[in-house]
């Protein structure tokens, strides 16, 4: 009897970036543990920020300003990731910043995703003139310069969480509506929808009990794939000054504050930049995996 082949060695890298199979598709079976770990870590950071942060994210200690991270020359053990121009601990600000990012993501995805889900189901199921009107609204939303609108909103309504969430919601809902509508269009052709009508179900009942549960998979995939978009949008708007007003720490704001000192204190901008990159990369990889598991038809997104 021949000896069995030794099990193939799987590098850790392959977990993050799964191998390509001959068909050209990435293999879908592997659970993306590293992205899940990173996302969990950031969520824990956000939830328990007051317990985890070594310092207040707002209090200034000007004596200690612009200290580099602890492992560099001149770094202090007191400040693991260094300090910014006002002597605030970057690690603490990063931990508190995760709160804002996740809170904005949660609110904007609930609002934007929810509106998109509702519009998509109604447009797809009711059809006709209602569909035409709603889809023209979606087209209009796509042509809207979202960033410009957010800046306008910040000027008229003032900066803040509400403004930020409204701006990102307006950016998101249309893409949700378009994908969900397509899904509903194919669902309503299925016999169980016609049979529900034969049994005497109202249109509202069909949409809630027959259509909605069947688009939830797609919806969950869309939500995950859009977390990255929201985090980037929040960071962009905060960077441009249309987001949460200082001194509340957000990752985008931290980059903005460090921008002028990239040559002498690069860590002030780079560290939150790395945090954003890791978070967005992780949710996107997780979202890709979830999509392949739940709804492979969405692969082109």
């Amino acid at each position: 009897m021949a000896l069995a082949d030794p099990p193939p060695r799987i590098s850790l890298w392959r977990l993050v970036w799964p191998a390509r199979v001959p068909g050209g598709f990435r293999r879908t079976s592997r659970v993306p543990w590293i992205p899940i770990a990173i996302i969990s870590a950031i969520v824990v950071m956000a939830l328990f920020a007051p317990l985890l942060a070594p310092y207040s994210p707002i209090d200034q200690t000007l004596r200690d300003k612009l200290l580099p991270p602890a492992w560099l020359d001149g770094g202090s053990e007191k400040y693991l990731l260094g300090t910014d121009a006002f002597g605030r601990d970057i690690l603490s600000r990063l931990i508190y910043g995760a709160r804002v990012s996740l809170l904005v993501a949660l609110l904007a995805l609930t609002a934007g995703g929810g509106i998109g889900l509702g519009v998509g189901i109604v447009a797809g199921y009711v059809g006709g003139a209602v569909d035409s009107v709603l889809m023209r609204l979606v087209d209009a939303a796509f042509t809207f310069p979202a960033i410009l609108f957010a800046l306008l909103l910040a000027v008229t309504m003032g900066q803040g969480l509400g403004t930020l969430v409204i701006a990102i919601t307006l950016l998101l809902w249309a893409s949700f509506a378009r994908v969900i509508r397509g899904e509903v269009l194919s669902l309503r052709q299925r016999d169980f929808v016609a049979l529900a009508r034969v049994r005497g179900c109202s249109a509202l009942r069909i949409m809630l009990t027959h259509i909605l549960p069947n688009v939830l998979n797609t919806f969950m995939v869309l939500v995950t794939l859009n977390i990255g978009v929201v985090i980037i949008a929040e960071a962009t708007l905060s960077f441009l000054g249309a987001g949460i007003p200082p001194p509340t720490p957000t990752w985008g704001l931290m980059i903005s504050e460090g921008r002028g000192r990239l040559t002498d204190a690069w860590w002030v901008a780079l560290i939150p930049g790395i945090a954003i990159t890791l978070m967005v990369l992780s949710v996107n990889l997780f979202g890709d995996w979830l999509r392949d598991r739940l709804d492979p038809r969405l692969r082109q997104l």
Partner: protein, 325 residues
């Protein structure tokens, strides 16, 4: 001649679908005459078979009877009431009386709904009774179609095709309808399961006195199930007769071609076989005169000019063909 009005009367029904081009400036290119001047009756407790090739309008007819489509012309009466005028309470009452089972058991159950809930749906929607009463009825229905009551808690993916079709039937039976439209109820099933399903349908008819409209392309199913058979070709009825009479004495060349195409034990083996050539003409531009004349082996000059009317050739047996005038 009975004086009792039929359960369902289809009266000179037409369904034309407009074929349009363009989005902003819509032009109508023509009409697809899916169903053209069709009339028939279904009596309480009997089975009417509706036979024809795909595209002959049989599914459109059944969808109009189910009030899923509006006829372009003509009307459909259930117990004397035109069904497309119904609203509110009367529409609910109609929905209770007419139910359906469709061909594809994989598409006719909501994959996210427990089958017990699917079966109970018409009872819930029509406020038939309280929870306990509905649960009891679902249990009874599952037993009636040969499934176990505890299967109510399962999802459709746990069932085979034949079992799903039984669930679909249980759901159709729930409200004790007077008419069930069976659109190709067995054609998606394995041959070994077909007979079981057909016998189940017959048993249920004997118990509950429900009428069936059986839409099929398969003559064996119709012969086994139907009391009366209607043959359609390109949206028109070409022949209708009691099933026994039709199988004894096939008249219309199209019906004979259908019989030739399947291995049915024919009482008259000398009868020549007709093999159809060519495609079914487009319903967008149906042939003039008799719609079958382009493929008919007995075509006569008048067939392409005038349309033959349905004429009774023997009691209850009507044919639309100039051969029998």
């Amino acid at each position: 001649m009975s004086v009792v009005p039929p359960l369902l009367r289809v009266e000179r029904v037409r369904k034309h679908f407009a074929l349009t081009k363009g989005i902003l400036f819509t032009r109508t290119l023509g009409h697809i005459k899916a169903v053209d001047d069709v009339s028939f009756d279904i009596r309480a407790g009997e089975t009417l078979g509706l036979v024809g090739e795909s595209g002959c309008g049989k599914t459109t007819t059944s969808r109009m009877i189910l009030n899923l489509e509006e006829p372009t012309e003509g009307r459909i009466l259930l117990e004397g009431e035109p069904i497309h005028a119904l609203q509110g309470e009367a529409l609910h009452a109609y929905r209770v009386k007419v139910q359906a089972v469709f061909q594809d058991p994989w598409s006719s159950l909501n994959p996210r709904m427990k089958v017990g809930r699917t079966i109970a749906e018409s009872l819930i929607v029509n406020a038939w009774g309280d929870r306990a009463k509905i649960a009891e009825r679902v249990r009874e229905l599952l037993l009636q179609v040969g499934l176990r009551p505890e299967q109510a808690q399962q999802y459709p993916h746990e069932f085979s095709g034949g079992q799903r079709q039984r669930v679909a039937l249980a759901a159709a039976l729930a409200s004790r309808p007077k008419l069930i439209v069976l659109d190709e109820p067995v054609s998606a099933l394995d041959v070994s399961i077909r007979a079981q399903m057909m016998n189940l349908l017959k048993d249920i008819q004997a118990q509950d006195d429900v009428a069936y409209l059986l839409v099929a392309h398969d003559l064996a199913t119709v012969r086994h199930m139907a009391d009366h058979t209607v043959v359609m070709y390109l949206g028109k009825i070409v022949e209708q007769a009691p099933t026994a009479a039709l199988f004894e004495d096939v008249r219309h060349p199209y019906t004979r071609a259908l019989f030739s195409a399947v291995l049915v034990a024919r009482p008259n083996p000398q009868e020549e076989e007709i093999e159809l050539k060519g495609e079914v003409p487009s319903p967008l531009d149906p042939p003039s005169g008799c719609r079958f004349h382009t493929r008919c082996p007995y075509v006569m000059p008048r067939c392409s000019q005038h349309e033959p009317a349905l004429r009774e050739v023997s009691p209850g047996h009507s044919v639309a063909c100039y051969l029998f005038e």
